[in-house]
Subunit: 412 residues, 2 copies
């Protein structure tokens, strides 16, 4: 049985019909719809000569034993954000399934190395605000103590929601056992950005995932009456924040692929008749180069203090989260480039701004590569998320080529 990329698309549509509503995909991890998606997926691999089990963090492992115990891992995630798209995460899993089928049908069902497909649990962190949950348990970078206290919007505790799905948080560390014999990890993903589309390219090679500095920044000024307070007597916290909102673009602009985003800004008291006394902003900075990231963080801090002083305000920072850049494996990047070029004729190397499970796997020391397929209009996490059918088919083919090349690299 040869690779059938059309089947992948048919299966993606089947999954969409099963787990979406008029607002998009609803496969939020640890919900009934997500469990339904996993049940459906199990039915798809039931006729293959594979072993299947869930690890202690809820990751689903489908293993095709090979001549060697050394394993090639291919991963994705069936969970989605609420009102999500049909491709984010699911393409990875179903393309991986197609590659697994191809391996199972060749080599008399016994490929040179073991092939393992993994559906990571809770990549999105949509319900409890903790993304890359399953892959971080695998990588040993989990944070059980911090995460245990999390609850969803309805007050349901994370611990209880996971237990309902058969996962005990205390047992997360046991998921690290799955790293045994892992020789390489591959992941296909939609780009979720506009770069490949703007270059007219179907596929791209991902250099790594950008490091992230994520902070809350609060400017303190003085609430004052909008009618009675002369302009020169104001301590306007919004003015200081507005200067920073514009300055971060200059800070990012010095570096080719760097991004800085002020995604949220809140004003207090936030009424039409009062000068803003307090302004809370968020800042998200990303780059693949750790030095660049550190420089941007430092420059944003300096700028915020300068603007606070100019506006007779004060400023305080508090880190929400950060992660170092994760460059992928050079040899696998080359193989990925070959696979992309053979499939689509041209290639492009680019960092990934969004985080992916691949970053956690790479942090665990497993040689890792990722491939992007073009997103239409750069939109994801939305029901209008889409990719051209021919590009989806090419992505399955390219992942399959990359898997073969990686197996050859592993046995060399």
């Amino acid at each position: 049985m040869s690779l059938n990329p059309t089947r992948t698309i048919a299966e993606l549509k089947e999954l969409r019909a099963l787990t979406s509503d008029e607002n998009g995909a609803q496969r939020v991890a640890w919900t009934d719809t997500w469990l339904k998606a996993r049940e459906w997926f199990a039915s798809k691999s039931s006729d293959l000569p594979v072993e299947q089990h869930y690890d202690s963090a809820g990751n689903n492992w489908v293993t095709l034993p090979g001549a060697s115990e050394r394993a090639l891992l291919i991963g994705g995630h069936l969970d989605s954000v609420p009102n999500g798209g049909w491709l984010d995460g699911a393409l990875n899993v179903l393309a991986g399934l197609e590659v697994l089928r191809r391996f199972a049908s060749e080599f008399h069902g016994r490929p040179p190395v073991t092939i393992r497909l993994v559906d990571w649990a809770d990549e999105e962190g949509a319900r409890f605000g903790r993304s890359l949950l399953g892959s971080s348990a695998f990588a040993g970078t989990h944070s059980i103590a911090t995460d245990r206290g999390r609850a969803d919007r309805d007050g349901v505790k994370m611990e209880d929601a996971l237990r309902r799905c058969g996962v005990e948080m205390d047992r997360f560390p046991e998921a690290e056992r799955e790293r045994k014999n892992a020789g390489a990890y591959l992941e296909l993903h939609i780009e979720q950005g506009p770069v490949l589309e703007s270059l007219g390219l179907p596929l791209g090679v991902v250099l790594g995932t950008k490091g992230v500095e994520r902070h809350n920044i609060t400017f303190h000024g003085q609430e004052a009456h909008s009618g009675s307070t002369p302009m020169n007597a104001r301590r306007d916290a919004l003015a200081a924040a507005a200067k920073l909102a514009l300055e971060i673009r200059a800070i990012a602009g010095k570096h080719a692929d760097a991004v800085c985003t002020m995604g949220s800004l809140k004003t207090f008291p936030g009424i039409v008749t009062a000068v803003v006394g307090r302004c809370e902003a968020t800042l998200d900075q990303r780059d693949l180069n750790a030095g660049v990231l550190a420089q941007m963080y430092r420059e944003a801090q300096e700028a915020s203090r300068r603007f606070a002083a100019e506006e007779k305000c004060t400023v305080e920072w508090s880190r929400l989260w950060n992660i170092e850049p994760v460059p992928f494996h050079p040899a696998l990047l080359d193989l990925c480039e070959q696979a992309v070029r053979e499939t689509s004729g041209s290639t492009h190397r680019m960092p990934s701004g969004p985080l992916h499970d691949a970053a956690e796997v790479s942090r665990a020391g497993i040689p890792t590569a990722m491939m992007f397929v073009q997103s239409l209009n750069g939109i994801s996490h939305n029901k209008i998320e889409d990719t051209r059918q021919e590009h989806l088919e090419m992505s399955v083919t390219a992942l399959d080529k990359l898997a073969s090349k990686t197996v050859n690299w592993m046995v060399k």
Copy 2:
């Protein structure tokens, strides 16, 4: 019985003890605490030779008949914002009461003209978002049809809350009858701003209330992933709004007393990982000169369109509210200046940024003047609102002088 400004301060403290809690004054109109304040006030005038009644909009009129039916009106408001100060509105009423007492004790209880003290209903609009309610009914500028649909935070309808206090909204127009024979209107108020304090002056003459243009401004860009969207591919609605937040200061800065305020800014989706797709801001612009106000409004609109274009966004405006500037009466301004100078030795003419019931009275064609007394730190609508005791006493004295001068002006 001569004027006793110390008594005014004692009464203000008595009212504070009766109607405040640890967060400040709680005399929100149409609440039990407000009714308690009014009941207390009624007890203060019960031994005077006056007629008292509530008009159809809930304004409380205390009338000392004079030799002429021509009436001098002195006004204030006992209602406060939630967690408000002890002086805003209440100083006006209790200083007016002291002036009324003085008139009642002179002229054998029969002054040359009729003296009327009015406690306006719901100046603040704190509960239903409609300020100057009672005085607008008096002036005939009310908006019953629009206001009828209002409800408070708890869903209580404005109409029902007013009915509970004996006021039928349909009968608002009958309050216009109180304008009969009105020859002048005087109002003392705390400045609620920092100007007099910065000049070292106890008292000021109010030129009029500034006109106001109040708008919602919405910038529409494109929500996008903060990690995957290159800086040059963004349509960042916050960037456009930030430019406007800074530009309005230059727009106001061209004119001596003009102010422009962006008091609220909201980001959507407003999450740390997304470029802002939509940004809603408010703009409040004020000046005493209608031409200046119109120019500032036009310049802000033009700037917003320019910034939207620069950021590949669109912008839309919707007017929340506006009012024309209300200059006070030139002859009464001169009398006010005399009264202030005789009391405190120096004077300063200034526009009022905040609106006051005096603006509604003036719009009804009644010669009007207002006097400001210094606010400490320019703060009001807050429990720390305060004014030096000697300044409060001077303000009662100056209001009394102004009342005498105005009576003389009326009978001339």
